[in-house]
Symmetry: C2
Subunit: 415 residues, 2 copies
């Protein structure tokens, strides 16, 4: 059994920032490009009509007068023609369609005279465009970007506009500083899925959804592996699957009995133990190790099965690991702490520091710390409404109201 | 054609905060409960062993001495027995298992003497527990919460602990202030999916992923409907599907030509037009309407198909609608604006205010506004690296360097 500060130091020492990863553009909102994106073609890819109207030849237009032209083809968006527009002719064209060869400009449909606005191929249109400029209402090929041009440099944050541009440039996947993948597994033959009605002796797997939410709040990508019963082969198989992730968070099966198969399964899967058991309450049985994976590693946390213990261990051990993998600066590794004064007595544990749920109120120039009712490591009621975890030092017995204590503030994602 | 301020006012007047919605707990991270959650059973649901060891009868324990007991049953987590523990006997029990009838307390496995720690049913165990207290290492039924008790009051934010507690309490779905659902549809026969190689005349649907990312960044839930060609029945069918959402954002098909089938499809689906065409650049053809749905409504936006126009219209019209549906205060409806000084000349449009991409730098006590190269409504390159949209007023012609302008800042989600 080691001290909490030493344990946290060992986690910090083991964690390394992740390298860039290739992800689907559809799940890359707000991520930062670790490699530039170059265009796979020109944009616009061809001379494109920017108005609905008639694609004309500059030379045919009568300045400040009326131009009469034969309409030889109808071009909607998506339509193309291989035939050039002959002199004295035009194409009916819709916004977004490629300008046909021979044509230089678009005269808007509003400029058609004498009811000829609806003229289609085979008809004759009369146009007056007093403000006509050569090449008007055409977006020329390549004016936004050219094939091969870097349109999104390394380091760009994928804003909505950048995502649209990446699609235009032909990128379906992007190389980014991606959120760490965290596999989440619960062990225990008593566990049933969250949407089940438990029979006698059974318990809903509440750790899975809880830890998944904690992972997302801390900037990770949660990969839910559900729960597995207390059978050595089943646990080994599930652990092996979880080792594909950057972090594996398992809950349950790390205390002292002969059904504590988890450390065995870790060993069988090649996970090297860094520590097991930490002087703290709740959370004493917590296990931590690491396993090489390719040129990186998987960090492996075995959290106690009781939900309050599991969540406290997540906040103290898994959160800093996630922050380090994300490449965050040390000031973002841990939840913030404040000092405050107990507004009521709180009972510590003789041998270990206690992390217990509390509310925190502004009081004068400091904080008042209000202990919440808490029946122990399986009780989430206090934690669900808590604003923080008050830290009651080891050996302190019952702390009277007025004692100053540290509080770990549970809001915010640390990033 | 109406002025931009009037158009924005019409959107604000039409939008209403959404009522609460029932969502799956798995997608409720961070949302606020609009209805309390009461427990569907006690927690713990039975007296639960909190250590691995032996479930004993208080009366059998020899204080400060050695207690010898027959082990009559082995109970792992998930195991139950209907038989009570007789006097002079005990059960081998694992953490998380229900305490059998007759037993009062758990003696940890570490207290077994003379190598009897591994004793199973049929054997005899010798125990010495110097710190024995009646009822120790048992979490009593209902000490965390009782069946019917409100464990999560209305207004609770669904933190990870609250999600764990909701699972324990039997909630699979929760009533919350949920993000507005925004259906996203692109029209145009030229469109192909983002992962396609476009043929001549075709264009990747970049608006879909771009608007979806913008919706998520503004706190909405994006429902991607892909793209649909320029056929009246196809557009009507897709619009009808989109009308199931709180907001339908369609892009393309709202300008002037005879293939502008979108306003027709809106009318055919019962969407009442509020406005069509706004004095602004880009984005002039924008369309807005509403349709009753149950006791609520769907707000319908027809954005221009060019991507830059589409995004500018999203930020100016759809964003405030989303904010109002979310119930946000007016100060969060729009992106923030700052005043700054042009560091280079910028060309406005004679008849309409222009919203054009720019960078914004701190400069002295104010901001310098650097216009970005921009070839118009189909060019996302400038927008992708822009920090804001500078507003060049109507009728201003070319504004020289040094002119003071408004800038809409494009970062932040407004919530």
């Amino acid at each position: 059994m080691i001290d909490l500060a030493e344990a946290i130091g060992l986690v910090e020492a083991a964690a390394r920032p992740l390298g860039p990863r290739r992800v689907a553009l559809a799940s890359a909102d707000g991520l930062r490009l670790a490699a530039a994106i170059a265009a796979d073609g020109d944009s616009p890819p061809w001379d494109r009509a920017m108005m609905d109207g008639f694609a004309v030849r500059d030379a045919d237009i009568v300045p400040d007068g009326v131009t009469e032209l034969d309409v030889v083809v109808d071009l909607a968006a998506g339509d193309v023609t291989a035939l050039p527009i002959p002199p004295g002719c035009c194409a009916r064209i819709m916004t977004g369609a490629p300008l046909p060869a021979g044509a230089d400009a678009v005269v808007p449909v509003e400029c058609a005279l004498d009811g000829t606005a609806g003229t289609h191929a085979g008809g004759r249109v009369r146009l007056r465009d007093g403000r006509y400029r050569a090449g008007q209402h055409v977006a020329r090929r390549g004016t936004a970007f050219r094939r091969g041009q870097v349109v999104l440099p390394e380091g760009t944050v994928l804003s909505p506009a950048a995502i649209g541009l990446a699609v235009e440039a032909g990128a379906t996947h992007v190389v980014v500083a991606a959120p760490p993948r965290v596999a989440i597994l619960a062990t225990g033959s008593e566990l049933v899925p969250p949407d089940s009605i438990p029979a006698h002796g059974q318990t809903r797997n509440s750790n899975g959804p809880m830890i998944a939410a904690a992972v997302r709040a801390a900037g990770g990508e949660a990969v839910a592996l559900g729960s597995v019963g207390d059978r050595p082969e089943a646990i080994r198989a599930a652990v092996a699957m979880g080792l594909a992730a950057d972090i594996l968070v398992l809950s349950g099966g790390v205390s002292a009995g002969d059904l504590d198969l988890v450390p065995e399964a870790f060993a069988a899967c090649g996970v090297a133990e860094v520590f097991h058991k930490v002087r703290m309450k709740p959370g004493k049985p917590v296990w931590f190790g690491r396993r090489a994976r390719g040129d990186g590693q998987t960090l492996v946390f075995g959290l106690p099965g009781n939900p309050a213990s599991s969540l406290v261990c997540f906040e103290l051990f898994v959160r800093p690991a996630l922050a380090i993998l994300r490449g965050l600066a040390p000031r973002h590794w841990h939840l913030p702490r404040v000092r405050g004064v107990l507004s009521a007595a709180a009972r510590g544990a003789g041998d270990r520091p206690v992390y217990a749920p509390c509310r925190v109120h502004a009081s004068g120039t400091g904080y008042a710390v209000e202990p919440l009712a808490w029946s122990g490591s399986s009780d989430l009621v206090g934690l669900a409404v808590a604003e923080g975890l008050m830290v009651l030092p080891a050996g302190s017995g019952t702390l009277p109201a007025g004692t100053e204590v540290d509080v770990v503030i549970r809001t915010g994602d640390g990033g």
